[in-house]
Amino acid sequence: MTIVNILFYLFSAVLIGSAIGVITARNPVHAALFLVFSFFNSAVLWLLLEAEFLAIVLVLVYVGAVMVLFLFVVMMLDINLVQMRQGFTKYAPIGLVVAAIVVAEIGSVVWVKELGLTNIGDVAPLPAGYSNTKALGQLLYSDYIYPFELAAVILLVAIVAAIILTMRKRTGLKPQDIAAQVAVRAKDRVRIVKMKAEGKES
């Protein structure tokens, strides 16, 4: 057992443990943090495969951007956990039966028989100075240019969809009109009323 193997099993075990933590944690914030932890462990697995670019991207994009946003949403939304769990006990028996069947089926396939995932051999070690990022970039803009562009179109659709679903003109909103605020003059706002000074009461 080489050091790489030991590291792989170590980080995989921690990854599975934290993945279980994601779904068993009672507090949504804890669940999100467990997810961050499992992303870190996955990033280490990428590093063991010498795919340093993917490892960094996983940490930067998922941990740095997606999960932080997710944490914000979880903290800002007032999620009533008691209410959410109400339906749980009602459907739990059915859910358990379905889950047991699925686990038994998948288990019978995965453990009892050979899956035959043999075509993917060991990863050959890369020569020194090999740039993972460059190789990825070359593939993305040559062999995979078509899927790459399609992914870009999907992102564009997501933007259009998000805007159409959230931006709407409602009455009763009080948005700022910056131009009007800048153009305002003092005499429009303040009215000076001349009054007689009040004398002593006689």
């Binding site: 050979e114 995932l117 995979y144 240019i145 078509y146 659709v157 259009v160």
Partner: protein
């Protein structure tokens, strides 16, 4: 191993896709700048986009099978025929939807933009040469459809059905991806032609492949809306604004057919015995449940949703046969069903007015007195869906049933005939309401001239294709050898 794209000629097979994408972006920008005042511009540009794409596909059609983009993209005659039908279906649904959207203040440019993006997703699925492009096409189509369903922000029921669609669709995409990953693990490739070779090398009974196949079939069945993966279909059809229902009910069915033929028949064709058994169950359940539950519906959109489920069962029959004749019959069924669905939902749009949806069965009472011509159009559509000769639906049903009988599934053909007899009841009920009941609604039909014209043509097409069935059938036979 990286192949460079050196000249514009390498991009030529995808000319229609590139044109649609560029033109959709033009529509999007044009709508931002001029749309608010001149909505007709967006509408016209969208129709021009479809016309342009049709010209490109028709003039640059591939004589045979051509690969592009390192095998990610397949251009073949079947794809060209499906694409041209898709343009037609989208154009017709735009024409039908226009009045409805304007009357309800929903005439935003994004409707056209999202529909065009959905159509691009359909085109990507039709021309997919790799599981990666299959998946991206599915996502592009689904994402646009989720947004379209929730498009009417003031409707609670639309938001609810969009939510259901989104959650169930995400699960189905997950199942599809999981299956794809298993197939990739066994065959070592995402390209469909290489997968076909890989399957024949390792053998169809290889357990990892069967495992992956099961999940892929779940994904395909969900996109089709086959029982037991049909839960989203009635709610989405009912909850979505009628123009969106019309759109979902028509062109995406071509995409589902393309998905099945590319992945199951081309990629995993060597495992035909494996997926045949699964599709037998799906087809029998879909025909049974769709036709029986449709009887108890009072809402026409919901009724047509269950009718869709039963028609999906018939389309799957063609795949169950697993022969070239079966695929031809399934393609013929899909194309004719799209024409019928356009007409059926088009009739609901035709009769709707401001504040009146016209989607209940009783809204069709006495239509023959109000508008004899459109009652006749509806009669032709309903007869065709029920499979009454001489309308086109009859030939479609004959085709798929004949294909399964040839393969020895006589009992399945028996089930199909039995349930189409049951299904005839609810189609005939609509005709009875139109011709023998007194009208409850006195409002006149407000639809514009172009819609009346296209809908009339749509109804007549159902009759004409039924009288001359060989026109379309020969086309399907020629492109699917």
């Amino acid at each position: 191993m990286a192949t460079d794209i050196t000249s514009i000629a390498d991009l030529a097979p995808a000319g229609a896709e590139i044109f649609v994408l560029a033109a959709t972006c033009v529509v999007l920008l044009a709508d931002v700048f001029w749309g608010e005042r001149q909505r007709w511009l967006t509408y016209t540009l969208s129709l021009l986009t479809l016309a342009g794409a049709a010209v490109i596909t028709l003039t640059h059609g591939a004589p045979g099978r051509e690969l592009a983009f390192s095998g990610m993209f397949v251009s073949d005659p079947m794809g060209d025929v499906l694409k041209v039908f898709t343009y037609g279906a989208v154009a017709v649904s735009f024409i039908y939807s226009r009045d409805y959207l304007t009357r309800r203040g929903l005439a935003k440019g994004e409707f056209y933009v999202l529909a065009l993006f959905a159509m691009l997703g359909i085109m990507v699925m039709i021309t997919a040469g790799s599981l990666l492009t299959v998946y991206l096409g599915v996502e592009l189509l689904s994402l646009s459809l989720y947004a379209l369903v929730a498009f009417d922000r003031d409707s609670g029921i639309a938001a609810e059905s969009a939510m259901k669609y989104f959650v169930l669709g995400a699960i189905a995409s997950g199942a599809l991806l999981y299956g794809i990953s298993m197939v990739y693990g066994v065959t070592g490739s995402l390209r469909l032609d290489e997968i076909a070779v890989g399957v024949s090398e390792v053998g169809a009974s290889q357990l990892g492949l069967v495992f992956g196949l099961a999940f892929i079939v779940v994904g395909v069945a969900f996109k089709f809306g086959a029982v037991p993966f049909h839960m989203w279909l009635p709610d989405v059809y009912h909850g979505a604004p009628t123009p969106v229902t019309l759109f979902i009910g028509s062109a995406p069915k071509i995409a589902s057919f393309a998905l099945a033929i590319r992945v199951l028949a081309e990629g995993l064709g060597g495992m035909v015995g494996g997926w045949q058994d699964m599709l037998v169950v799906l087809a029998a359940l879909s025909m049974g449940l769709g036709n029986v539950v449709a009887i108890s519906q009072t809402n026409l959109k919901r009724m047509l949703a269950y009718s869709t489920i039963s028609h999906v069962g018939f389309i799957l029959l063609g795949f169950v046969a697993g022969t070239a004749t079966g695929y031809q019959a399934a393609m013929y069924y899909t194309l004719t069903y799209v024409i019928m669905a356009l007409g059926g939902f088009g009739m609901i749009l035709l009769l709707s007015r401001d504040g009146f949806e016209s989607d209940r069965l009783e809204d069709f009472k006495g239509l023959a007195k109000k508008s004899p011509w459109f009652a006749l159009v509806m009669l032709m559509l309903m007869f065709s869906m029920a499979g009454v000769p001489p309308f086109v639906g009859f030939w479609a049903k004959i085709g798929v049933i004949g294909a399964v009988v040839d393969k020895g599934y006589t009992w399945l053909a028996g089930i199909a005939v039995f349930f189409s007899v049951i299904g005839a009841f609810y189609y005939l009920r609509v005709i009875k309401l139109m011709y023998f009941d007194e009208p409850t609604d006195v409002g006149a039909i407000e639809a514009g001239g172009s819609m009346r014209f296209v809908l009339s043509a749509n109804g007549l097409a159902v009759l004409a294709l039924g009288v001359f069935p060989s026109v379309l059938l020969d086309l399907c036979i020629r492109v699917l050898q």
